[in-house]
């Protein structure tokens, strides 16, 4: 029987079925972060349980670490206890930790693929809802809570109900300055914030095939914003080329063996999907959110919608978003004055994201009164960006250039906006108060965020670069 890629990975990793009917799915790579790790380590100790496979477990300090140059455990005082508790737990349990001062520290979803820790066809879990970022290299990932995290540490499996399968076909050639972020935002707008709930999503189609691996990661990262726990792209030659030579990938003869298996990781031609969706990306313009959930999206030339144009079931949410965002229906998004720009997070902080932003910023300056930040997704990305001189480009333009971490995405490290500020952010959630109390977040791509920082207003990067601004 023809099988989808999801079925192939799931079935291979299914160790057995538990008495309650749940499948036990083996987790090949488990990555912890400090916000939740201490709960798990404390519980294991209390229950006198051991880690089943510390060698398949990694830990990264990312959520609470300060971004200030020269940072240490104490720079963000509200993170100190978390950072130290995870360090302590990792030492006691023999887990490889990418600590705050490790040259390869960073956001877990950035670090795991860039070091080759996650692999095509591998299963992956992180106690974080954006775990499926690594679906960009063809891994099947699950975000989880603290109890499931503890369960994985003790057993190396997750007890899961088999999700349904969805395929999203993305076709057409992306226009200039349009990226995976714009595609994903449009898709969430079309399918809704619960459109993929209960599904594992395979992204396919010519637009996906043409995306560099980093953009595929952006696409898969935003899968949870339409409710899907797992989202991935079948690995292809571009994936293998991207992974080759990374420190933790198999080497030599083992690489060849792995490659032979990885080349079979596609959905069979007649594989069945429980749901299908499609989007033609040819005429897509840069996208931006106007509201307080990631489905409240318009094109950059669009306007805040009139309530009558919003689905009846979504109208109350729209009204509440208008109030929180301080926007009136009919207002054009482009031209709205902003206070802050953030470029970073597991969504958009990899080297190509920073290159795109730097190309927009180069030779220009951040508008007067705007606070603009760039926070690389990992210390490796930061180093590579610096080697290419990008830090100078950003600094000369008036950006803050920080140490790597989650930073202003959720503000867990103290980086946050001031009440009432309007912020254009390359992150994943425009929820109320997420980037600080009363902060008004607009999600957009690195190119749009960079152009906006320069203009001091929400800007169409295509116009800025054409000299119109």
């Amino acid at each position: 029987m023809p099988r989808s890629l999801f079925d192939k990975i799931w079935d291979f990793h299914c160790v057995g079925q538990r008495s309650d009917g749940r499948d036990l799915i083996y987790i090949d790579r488990h990555v912890l972060h400090e916000l939740h790790a201490h709960h798990a380590f404390a519980r294991l100790e209390k229950e006198r349980r051991e880690l089943h496979r510390p060698d398949l477990t990694f830990a990264v300090q990312d959520h609470t670490v300060a971004t200030k140059p020269g940072r240490d455990d104490g720079t963000n005082p509200s993170g100190t206890a978390f950072i130290q508790a995870m360090r302590d737990g990792c030492r006691k349990n023999g887990v490889r930790l990418f600590d705050i001062d490790d040259p390869e520290q960073g956001i877990s979803h950035v670090v795991a693929p860039e070091l080759g820790i996650v692999l095509p066809g591998a299963t992956h879990a992180v106690p974080d809802s954006h775990a499926s970022t690594v679906g960009g290299v063809g891994a099947l990932a699950f975000g989880c809570g603290a109890s499931e995290l503890t369960h994985i540490l003790a057993t190396q499996v997750m007890a899961l109900k088999r999700p349904k399968r969805m395929r999203v076909r993305l076709d057409g050639r992306l226009g200039a300055h349009v990226s995976a972020k714009d595609v994903a935002l449009r898709l969430i707008a079309e399918l809704g914030v619960a459109g993929a709930r209960g599904f594992a999503v395979e992204y396919a189609g010519s637009a996906v095939g043409a995306m560099p691996i980093e953009q595929r990661m952006t696409l898969c990262n935003l899968n949870i914003e339409m409710g899907g726990r797992s989202g991935f792209v079948a690995p292809d030659e571009a994936t293998f080329a991207w992974l080759a030579g990374r420190p933790y990938v198999p080497q030599g003869e083992m690489w060849d063996r792995a490659l032979a298996v990885w080349r079979t990781l596609t959905s069979d031609d007649d594989a069945a999907f429980d749901s299908d969706a499609a989007l033609d990306c040819s005429d897509l313009e840069p996208q931006i959110t106007w509201g307080t959930d990631p489905s409240q999206v318009v094109g950059i030339s669009g306007r805040v919608p009139e309530p009558a144009a919003v689905d009846r079931g979504r109208r109350a949410a729209a009204e509440s978003a208008f109030a929180y965002m301080g926007l009136t229906p009919g207002t054009p998004l482009a031209g709205l004055p902003i206070d802050r720009v953030f470029i970073g997070s597991c969504t958009n902080s990899r080297l190509p994201d920073l290159q795109v932003a730097a190309a927009v910023v180069r030779g220009r300056h951040v508008a007067h009164g705007v606070v603009a930040m760039v926070v690389p997704g990992s210390s490796s990305v930061k180093r590579e960006a610096e080697a290419a001189g990008l830090d100078r480009v950003f600094r000369d333009a008036g950006f803050f250039w920080g140490e790597s971490g989650c930073s202003m995405c959720a503000g867990g490290n103290g980086d946050r906006g001031e009440p009432g500020e309007r912020c254009v952010s390359t992150t994943n959630r425009n929820f109320e108060n997420r980037q600080g109390p009363k902060v008004r977040t607009h999600l957009a791509s690195p190119a749009t965020a960079a152009a906006t920082a320069i203009a001091g207003r929400i800007a169409d990067v295509r116009q800025l670069l054409a000299g119109a601004a």
Binding site: G21, D55, S78
Partner: protein, 209 residues
């Protein structure tokens, strides 16, 4: 895990869709390992801009101070996977959430902690919400997982469906890790098989060392 058989309490209507875990359990600026989950629940929504309590927020109203059942809309618990969004419910003795639907990770986190996620049929949900609004906290409802019924003022009992396995797990307060460790032999034999067929999955070597 604490088991769940039945729970009686005031039912509070918070009838918006897509309430996310950033709203339920916000990341607060001053925090530590021992968090005050009771105070964390809807911490921002409960307060006005000056920090004082917002008397209009449903859980602040006198009749809903001791809410035991939260009644809400579609896609409850969207967003971040943080389990504090369930622990903060427990800390306030809210053991049942009746929603039109739940976000996947949030629902799993409920099951891990003895919190009962209830989804009624659309018609029953309309009726139940109307009863909850009408009684306005004056009398409690009871949610019984043994009989799979919701009972309380304003009408007859309402039945609800839940997967048999989820029901058993809550009723018996089963230790999830213990349940899985019964399969440790299968786990180990899978590892041996994978080490033969796809050895790169079973090892993590930094090739630079």
């Amino acid at each position: 895990m604490q088991s769940f058989t039945r729970h009686t309490g005031v039912a509070a209507p918070l009838l918006t869709d897509d309430i996310n875990t950033d709203q339920i359990a916000p990341i607060l600026h001053s925090r530590g390992l021992k968090e005050d989950y009771k105070a964390m629940l809807f911490h921002r929504a409960r307060r006005r801009d000056d920090g004082s309590e917002d008397p209009d927020f449903v859980l602040n109203k006198p009749q809903f101070r001791d809410t035991g059942i939260l009644v809400t809309g579609h896609n409850f618990g969207a967003g971040s996977s943080r389990e504090s969004a369930v622990w903060s419910m427990l800390a306030n003795n809210i053991r049942v959430v009746v929603a039109r639907s739940f976000a996947d990770i949030y629902r799993e986190n409920c099951l891990q902690n003895g919190v009962l996620p209830v989804v009624l049929t659309a018609g029953d949900a309309d009726v139940f919400v109307a009863r909850v609004v009408a009684v306005n906290g004056a009398a409690p409802f009871t949610v019984d997982l043994v009989t799979q019924r919701v009972s309380g003022p304003g009408g007859p009992d309402i039945g609800f469906e839940i997967a048999a396995a989820d029901r058993t797990r809550l009723l018996e307060g089963l230790d999830d890790i213990g349940l899985t460790l019964k399969h440790i032999a299968e786990i180990v034999s899978w590892e041996k098989r994978a080490a033969r067929t796809q050895p790169w999955l079973q090892e993590t070597n930094d090739s630079r060392r």
